[in-house]
Subunit: 422 residues, 2 copies
């Protein structure tokens, strides 16, 4: 059986997919009696033609010439971003093509409509490459764990931020310094906002929410906080307390609601997750009946990602259905009501009575302190007071800290980092 | 769509499958528009009828009455072992049924014939549950990584031995004591030979060899060594050297050959693998283009295993093909020629000249020493000398140690444990 493919977008991933398809052709033929042929490739940049020429594949700058080609069965969208990619995916589905995409931003924003259209047109949308690059997570959740209820999911879904936090921890450097180094190595974009502010993780979390719970959350309703406010001080104090700081995407089933959020998180140093190093991704699932599972692998890069694109192409070529949970009517938890333990760092003047003032405010908001340490002594300066709380309500913690920050003995703003016990 | 199932074998896994099928029926209907009905269950033990009655499912003691039932599409074999299970699987395939099995011993011994028959009959054999219980490893390798060449696989595939090694390490107790404790907790069989001698891991490794390389190795040709010879001393010395001891199943592509083996292995303590605790399983894959991947999850137990059985049933019900690599003509490495680094513990009299004698023999066999430590001083006793070698040939190491063990100053047998650098 021969299936014909059109690839739109010849960046790192696009070029790697062409090469990997060539490298794996014998393997795919031996496993699936299938031949995959790239019928054409497209990029708006004319200079990308050299890639096409290298592999002797027809090149075009017009997506429509691939979308309208009746020979092509599957359109692979690898340009990223929303505008043109959205039009391409919609046009391809309308023309009766199957679609494979690595585009998390697009799916997080328009996934609901895209999957509805695909269903109406009886076409498949493969998106294994949109979350955790090379890890076969989408197929594992949708097929391998098809009979499982996901109770909780914790993900290190963004390699760039994990790399930055890793560097800060290992080299004892501050955020800006680590970011600059990671940018120099080509592991972060020149404009790193999507990564460091947690937006990329948020996009991936929305896709996983659909897979695990059948819920497409409105992007703006999900709390997302990045790592740009994490200081070296916090990394070091966390370490002393036997924690590590990771940017986590979290999804938990809470009775009839779903708790979705992205934020820096203190994790027990012993947990396998805390060892997720540099540019790797990891996902921890708590399920029934499969129990606890951990998936770990490369989270970015054209070559690893090409593996997931190819697995989607093969599944579609073999007429396999992507098993997506039908949409469920479940509401999201209000972030203000979520209860967690907290790490707090408050910069206070080293004077008698300061801790009493802070404690009084915390108790007003029903926040109970599990441990407190004043890290330095210097009566002329603001010194850090580090606290770990018992479980407290997010809204109470925000209000208490905002009131504490107004005290004249406090150098605001205070730091809070949420703690999760996996 | 309704698919009808017959389950043969009502042990832990069988009963858990019935319950999980009931629990997940809504989920499976929402994801796959599929209804799975258990048409009948079978066990040779009549008292198992109570399980069937509890779920109002017809019960029989005769496998043939399910195999010959024209209504049943899928036979689920969960009795384990080879004899009767083999007959059941063959008879079911001959009758045109699909088969789902958790039986690693059966597949390792007769997989080749079973998959040939299935192919001839155009029927599927699902075996996700045969390796790493709840981890969707089989689907990940065959589908998620369909375009990937596996360069190396390292697996902690047996929960019982991992639990015993874990206990020895954490509680500083010897092998027999740890085994007894694990047996008391119900995590090891009364006759634990299959587990502790590495046979269970060997069975799973054979299945993975077929998946990864298209090779069914003759069971007797694969080197398998268990953990019963690992002493507490070795665990402690390994720890001092910043290693952990794990029972690993190893599969490596070496040019045109495949290196397959099961043995206790020293691993760097920092490697994620070293943290695989108690009854968990973990598999590390080095692939191209997907790079390095790690899968981690529960390695035994009826409830977790039921998840994998159900995922196979759903795949078959949806007419998905299991993607198995066609058989490749690749030969196995001869264990004697494999090169590794080694940990050696030699019990020698504490006298001048002993180390010289040992070193001389090692150098005769081209074994070069990276480090050596004499662990105690007592001129009246045999004291342990612990060595780490540079890369050496297995056969040379065996011959050198056998010659060393003949020295009058040595209390034989000496210990050797292989080292892998993941």
């Amino acid at each position: 059986m021969i299936k014909k493919i059109g690839i739109i977008g010849l960046g790192n991933v696009g070029e790697a997919v062409i090469r990997s398809l060539k490298d794996s052709s014998r393997l795919i033929s031996r496993k699936a009696s299938l031949r995959l042929e790239v019928k054409g490739v497209c990029d708006v940049r004319k200079d990308k033609k050299r890639i096409a020429s290298k592999y002797r594949i027809p090149f075009t700058t017009k997506p429509s010439s691939l979308i309208n080609d009746p020979d092509i069965d599957i359109i692979v969208e690898l340009i990223g971003g929303i505008g043109p990619a959205h039009n391409i995916v919609i046009a391809a589905l309308k023309k009766g093509k199957h679609v494979v995409t690595a585009n998390k931003a697009l799916l997080a924003s328009h996934g609901k409509d895209i999957f509805s259209l695909a269903q109406a047109k009886k076409r498949e949308v493969g998106f294994e490459a949109s979350v955790c690059a090379a890890i076969p997570l989408i197929k594992s959740i949708s097929k391998g764990l098809v009979g499982c209820e996901v109770k909780a999911l914790y993900g290190i879904l963004n390699g760039t931020t994990n790399y930055i936090l890793d560097k800060m921890t290992k080299e004892r450097i501050d955020f800006n310094c680590a970011l600059a180094q990671v940018q120099n190595k080509g592991f972060a974009e020149k404009n790193p906002t999507l990564d460091i502010e947690g937006i990329d993780s948020l996009h991936k979390l929305c896709i996983l929410s659909y897979l695990c719970f059948g819920v497409w959350p409105p992007l703006k309703k999900v709390y997302a906080e990045g790592i740009s406010r994490i200081s070296l001080l916090d990394i070091l104090y966390a370490q002393e307390l036997n924690y590590r700081i990771k940017l986590l995407a979290i999804a938990k089933k809470q009775r009839d609601k779903i708790d979705l959020r992205v934020h820096p998180t203190l994790l027990a140093a012993e947990h396998l997750f805390s060892d997720t190093s540099s540019a790797y991704n990891a996902v921890y699932l708590n399920t029934y009946p499969a129990g606890e599972l951990l998936f770990y692998g490369e989270g970015a890069g054209g070559v690893p990602t090409s593996s997931s694109v190819i697995s989607d192409i093969v599944s579609i070529a073999l007429n396999e259905k992507g098993l997506l949970r039908k949409e469920e009517k479940v509401s999201l938890c209000d972030m203000r009501d979520v209860k967690m333990r907290y790490y707090m760092r408050i910069m206070a003047l080293d004077r008698p009575g300061v801790l009493a003032k802070i404690s009084k405010i915390l108790s007003t908001y029903n926040i109970s302190i599990a441990s407190v340490t004043q890290k330095e002594r210097d009566i002329h300066k603001f010194v850090p007071i580090v606290m770990i709380t018992h479980e407290a309500r997010e809204d109470d913690v925000c209000k208490a800290l905002s009131q504490i920050d107004k005290l004249s003995v406090i150098k605001s703003p205070s730091q809070k980092i949420r703690i999760e016990d996996l």
